[in-house]
Amino acid sequence: MRGRGALLLAALLALAGCAERPPGDGPVTLVFKHARILGPADPFPGLLAEFAAAHPGVRVTSESLPWSSDEQHQFYVINLEGRSPGFDVMMLDVIWVPEFARAGWLLDLTDRVRPEELAPHFASTVAAATWAGRVWALPWNMNVGLLYYRADLLAKYGLRPPETWEELEAAVRTIRAGERDPRLEGYLWQGKQYEGMVVNVLEALWANGTRLLGADGAVFPEPARAVEALAHLRGLLATGVSPRWVTAADEELSRRAFGDGRAVFLRNWPYVLDLVEAPGSAVRGRVGLAPLPGRVRGAGAGSTGGSHLGISRGTRHPDLALALVRFLTGERAQRAMATGAALYPTRTALYRDPALVARNRWLPRIHDLMLAGRPRPVTPSYLLLSTTLQPELSAVLVGLKPPARAIADARRRLDYFLASRR
């Protein structure tokens, strides 16, 4: 987005929603909107050609979304608020599904998709596609937060992968004291002011046995436990277990440092595996992965993420669009994406697929982590929550605000906005 500011954008919002495609008798065109796929080989052209071959008279156009998640959301908001969005099938970040469903932008799939069709997917990803008891999208690919560790360093000091916060901090101290390498950091994670940091905070809340959104919709239902979780994250930075620059780190910044062999532990998503195991990687064959540590043993859980495929309610070809969604979320397509684009499947069976396991020996392990993963709060107000919390949580991490005050300030602001939504 250019710097012409919010005024113009607001005006565009008001003026959006004009272009209507003329009805034609010719071949049907389905427009599929998705983020660019990175990876060794883009599987899409092949998959879409396959779908077209099976459906004569149907053409599928694949259109790229902007690069960043923020811009993708903005694109959808502007285009879906107008009545004719110009696309049929869309890639959705899991956190947008309830919001878009609430807004009436998604086709309700409840009556078209049978429960046994959803059963092969991880339960948490189906939960993220369901809102108000109805199904709005099909799971497409998946992510989970996990702990990477330097297996060689842990073995050298006779340590096991840490299962608690305390064990992780002790391991960092032991290894750094033994290595005497000022360039070797301890534990890297994502603390920049953005959605990724909120994910890290959610994981700390879960690890301490609490959550962000209570069953009754209350924010920080157990403030004392939330304060502890935030104090733990701040403590990692204050005591040097994590370097101070974690407050500017996103996934890539932290991944690179770990990939260069400059840290013992890293919290990140499964995509990092392909990069650290790639030929030429400084830590190839020296990395292990484990569940995120908890405050007590077994309490840690990674946040799930990934994307779903939904259908625009403005589509003129709901049946064909659903056929495309079924095909792309099907076993065959998910296998192709796991091979060609390093996207992790939402179908549990693929994690035991011999051909896939032969390519990635970690798959069974990742399966267990995905299974134990938890979705971020499934609410249409998720982005409001996250956007409001970000500066407050960041203020705690950099030490500008005590956790209790940040929580109180965030609650006050959320009350105002949530009240205006009722």
């Binding site: 005006a11 002011q193 101070r244 249409p380």
Partner: protein, 290 residues
């Protein structure tokens, strides 16, 4: 007024009508619409659409995040425009005094200006990298946490903005400097003026007009600054680089609170108009004095 004059005026208005109509459609209509929106509770995704009166403005008045964004916007504007002005004039003077390589220097300057803000932001992201960044290496291996330290993040964003927009001031000042007749400098020399006196008594007064215009443009841009901080820091850490425009964006496109986001937008608009009006008065006063 004669009939002839009246006819002329009518034809003039007729010829201007398309321009006025276009302006009205492109600026007045959306402007009024945003103002109207700012008085509503409007969350289309939730089917919320009711009158809010001034509640958004009342909330903003007691909203620490809003005041922090306002302070950040003001600091960013003053610091980056001030630095751009001083350094821009210095670069222009250096260019005029240069005998060789003027074209090359000029092209390099324009390169920085021609680069999209997002690209500049990515570039500086690397320069500011805490471990491998060029800046920390140049500073003798310091490990300054440029984008993650609440005291350093805003200066880091200002620095990136100065690098990007200094050429604008430099080129305008350079063009004006080329237009100053050499006789003036010869006369100053004859009168025994030193280098400093020549600069403050001859060069600066002659640059004044063009600098005021440069400052006007840069200030209006800086007040609406968005891209650099959005890409570099996302407004963090602790909201220390969140400008009013970034806050408005968050309200509009992430929180989907169209009424609230518009209220922030209206504040930015009012601020920009106020500053523009003040500058224009200053410019006019300058012309009257000259």
């Amino acid at each position: 007024m004669t009939r002839r004059e009246r006819a002329d005026r009518r034809r003039g208005l007729l010829l201007m009508a398309p321009t006025l109509a276009t302006l009205a459609v492109l600026t007045v209509y959306p402007g009024a619409w945003v103002l109207w929106l700012s008085l509503q509770y409007r969350v289309p995704a939730f089917g919320v659409d009711r009158f809010a009166g001034a509640s958004h403005y009342a909330f903003l008045a007691g909203d620490p995040r809003f005041w922090s964004a306002a302070r950040t916007t003001a600091l960013f504007t003053v610091a980056s425009v001030g630095l751009e002005l001083v350094l821009g004039v210095a670069v222009a003077l250096a260019l005029v005094g240069q005998r060789r390589g003027r074209h090359l220097a000029f092209s390099l300057l324009l390169l920085a200006w021609a680069m999209p803000a997002v690209v500049t932001a990515r570039l500086f992201e690397w320069l500011y990298h805490p471990a491998a960044g060029l800046l920390n290496v140049l500073l003798g291996g310091l490990d300054l946490n440029w984008l993650g330290d609440p005291a350093l993040a805003l200066p880091a964003v200002v620095l990136a903005d100065v690098w990007r927009t200094l050429p604008f001031v430099a080129v305008l000042a350079y063009a004006r400097l080329l237009g100053i007749p050499t006789e003036l400098y010869e006369a100053a020399q004859v009168d025994g003026a030193g280098r400093l006196a020549t600069f403050t008594r001859v060069t600066l007064p002659l640059l004044r007009g063009v600098l005021l215009i440069a400052v006007l443009f840069r200030t209006l841009d800086a007040l609406r600054a968005f891209d650099l901080m959005f890409v570099l820091t996302g407004g963090g850490p602790a909201g220390t680089t969140e400008t009013l425009t970034v806050y408005a964006y968050r309200g509009l496109f992430q929180m989907l609170q169209l009424g609230f986001g518009s209220a922030v937008g209206v504040v930015v608009f009012a601020l920009v108009m106020l500053v523009a009006w003040a500058y224009l008065r200053l410019l006019r006063a300058g012309e009257a004095a000259a």
